[in-house]
């Protein structure tokens, strides 16, 4: 599946954050979305997921406008990891992750074998199997983030939008999450866009979208866009790069 946006403008109130954006998320691609705080990354993801109406422009999945999809149908095609959830969940971790199967549910009571299989796969992928029976509210911040990722994994949509997927995660789980996303895109043919603040992880993406927050944007291959001069201008601080190609590391100058 392919997500395409053209002529897209993102605005909050009277402030236009991004003007006339053209973007195509093709199968197999992993996108990194960069930008300063308040540059419209979250609003862009919400617009692409059909959660908010963009100021202008159109969004299509396989050349079909987003508005033509029923909410449930959209849930099977496209999944979004929200940056934060403002509601507590009182059930178990297993029940929480299982909510990801909502758009796939075929019967009112009980789940099918493939739902159970997707659940186990998702719990396993994020090391949640030992915590499955525990109440969601007893989890730590990082564990909750893993449960939320696992919920998206259970939903298993071919298009994934992830708003700061690595927040609160320890180093190992950051690497594990990135590896899982790589595997989902390269091997299973999904397409994913991640909002990131870690430039080294951004270096592992295929393509980069930069939002400047003043209406301008830049999109292109990671090798092309991840240049120290451009990044220094974007973040307003000195940035140094070590290594090159697939093994590049970026470090802010302190």
């Amino acid at each position: 599946m392919k997500l395409r946006a053209h002529g897209l403008s993102i605005a909050i109130g009277a402030r236009v954050l991004c003007r006339d954006l053209a973007l195509e998320l093709a199968p197999g691609e992993l996108w990194g979305v960069l930008g300063c705080n308040g540059s419209g990354k979250t609003t862009l993801l919400h617009s692409l997921a059909g959660l908010t109406q963009p100021a202008a422009g159109s969004i299509l999945i396989d050349d079909r406008p987003l508005a033509d999809f029923s909410r449930r149908e959209l849930g099977r095609s496209l999944g979004i990891l929200l940056q934060r959830e403002d509601q507590e969940y009182w059930g178990s971790v297993r029940d929480y992750v299982m909510l990801g199967r909502y758009p796939h549910a075929r019967s009112l009571f009980g789940w099918h074998a493939d739902d159970e299989a997707a659940l186990e796969r998702a719990l396993g992928a994020f090391d949640l199997a030992p915590l499955a029976a525990q109440a969601y509210v007893t989890l730590s911040g990082g564990e909750r983030q893993r449960a939320r990722l696992a919920q998206l994994w259970a939903q298993n949509p071919p298009l994934m939008l992830l708003d700061e997927p690595l927040q609160h995660l320890d180093l190992r789980h950051q690497l594990q999450t990135l590896a899982l996303l790589r595997e989902a895109t390269r091997e299973a043919g999904a397409a994913a866009a991640l909002v990131l603040h870690d430039l080294t992880f951004a270096g592992r993406c295929d393509r980069i979208l930069i939002l400047y927050g003043d209406g301008r944007y830049a999109a292109g291959s990671a090798g092309e866009l991840l240049r120290t001069e451009r990044l220094a201008e974007l973040y307003g601080c000195g940035i140094r790069a070590f290594g090159d190609g697939a093994d590049v590391h970026f470090i802010p100058v302190i």
Partner: protein, 321 residues
């Protein structure tokens, strides 16, 4: 996790509460007598007491409790506010204003029921019209509109009580406190109860997702707008049916869902039927107290739902780690 055994247990408790309610009253009966009359009705005094007097009242109490608890569950999901109860949106206030106005004007029982229905539907309509504008469904506005309208109704009801003649004051107060002594035909209420519980239990997956917040629910594929409208009208229908039967019986709608959640039942597939059963049993037992403790004097059942419910809920709250 399947909670089917729990539902069976609660159904047995419900049957038990109905049986206990049939057992007690001004005419003392033995368990055997009640059982025989239920299984093989033989014309006589016992038969009349059970089938003509006690059973209609008990069924009305059960339906009323089930409706209020169900409505409470639906409104707590809709408004995402633990303090939401069936009366928060002004429905009971509208019904009370209609009913008390009719009593004051001296229209009979039938007339006051029609007036209560008109008042309740008026409140439902006003709240919906004021908070739903051009596809924009704002829950804060819904909640505040309901609360403000309730306050207005309370003021008007106080005014009616002040100008009401002494003779009618008692009946009016009973109505406000929740009273089942005039409830008899509960067929419609039962129909509404079964319908609302069945429809929303079938919809339980969406309710579970909505409990995570509207944005999250939409991201998971829930058509949130239509679900919220359905929740509003489902809860309103259940509340209207309950209020017409027993007046403003307090505490059931807020206490029963919370008690079940504190006991660990969060999945709406089980929470809805469980609430209906527990709410029904609870009001049935409370009403049995209300009509027997001070017999032949009948007390308003609303007093007992609170007297029994407050300690139970406080116990559950303090127990949670």
């Amino acid at each position: 996790m399947s909670r089917a055994p729990l539902i069976v247990l609660l159904a047995l408790i419900a049957a038990g509460s109905v049986f206990i309610a049939l057992l007690f009253g001004s005419l003392s009966l033995t368990t055997g007598q009640v059982f025989d009359t239920l299984v093989r009705p033989v014309p006589g005094v016992v038969d009349d007491v059970i089938w003509q007097l006690r059973l209609p009242r008990v069924l009305a109490a059960f339906a009323c409790g089930g409706l209020l608890a169900t409505s409470g569950v639906l409104l707590q999901v809709l408004l995402r506010n633990p303090l939401a109860d069936p009366y928060i949106l002004g429905i009971s206030g509208g019904a009370a204003l209609g009913a008390l106005g009719a009593v004051l004007l001296g229209i009979g029982v039938a007339g006051s029921n029609v007036a209560a229905l008109a008042g309740a539907l008026g409140a439902v309509g006003i709240v919906f019209a004021l908070s739903f504008r051009a596809g924009d469904w704002n829950l804060h506005r819904l909640l505040l509109t309901g609360v403000v309208l309730s306050a207005g109704f309370t003021a008007l009801i106080s005014l009616l009580l002040t100008v009401a003649p002494q003779a009618q004051l008692r009946g009016m107060l009973f109505w406000l406190m929740g009273d089942l002594s005039h409830a008899d035909a509960s067929g419609t209420a039962w129909l509404v109860l079964v319908l609302v519980v069945a429809v929303f239990t079938a919809w339980a997956g969406s309710l579970n997702a909505l409990a995570l917040g509207a944005l999250k629910a939409r991201a998971l594929g829930v058509a949130v707008g239509s679900l919220q409208a359905a929740l509003y009208f489902g809860a309103a229908l259940a509340t209207v049916a309950a209020v017409l039967l027993g007046g403003s019986i307090g505490f059931v709608g807020i206490m029963v869902p919370h008690a079940l959640r504190l006991a660990g039942i969060n999945d709406h597939r089980w929470l809805l039927p469980a609430s209906a059963l527990v709410g029904g049993s609870f009001v049935t037992l409370a009403d049995t107290f209300a009509r027997t403790v001070w017999a032949p004097q009948q007390l308003p059942v609303g007093v007992f739902t609170a007297l029994l419910g407050v300690p139970a809920l406080l116990f559950l709250l303090s127990r949670r780690p």
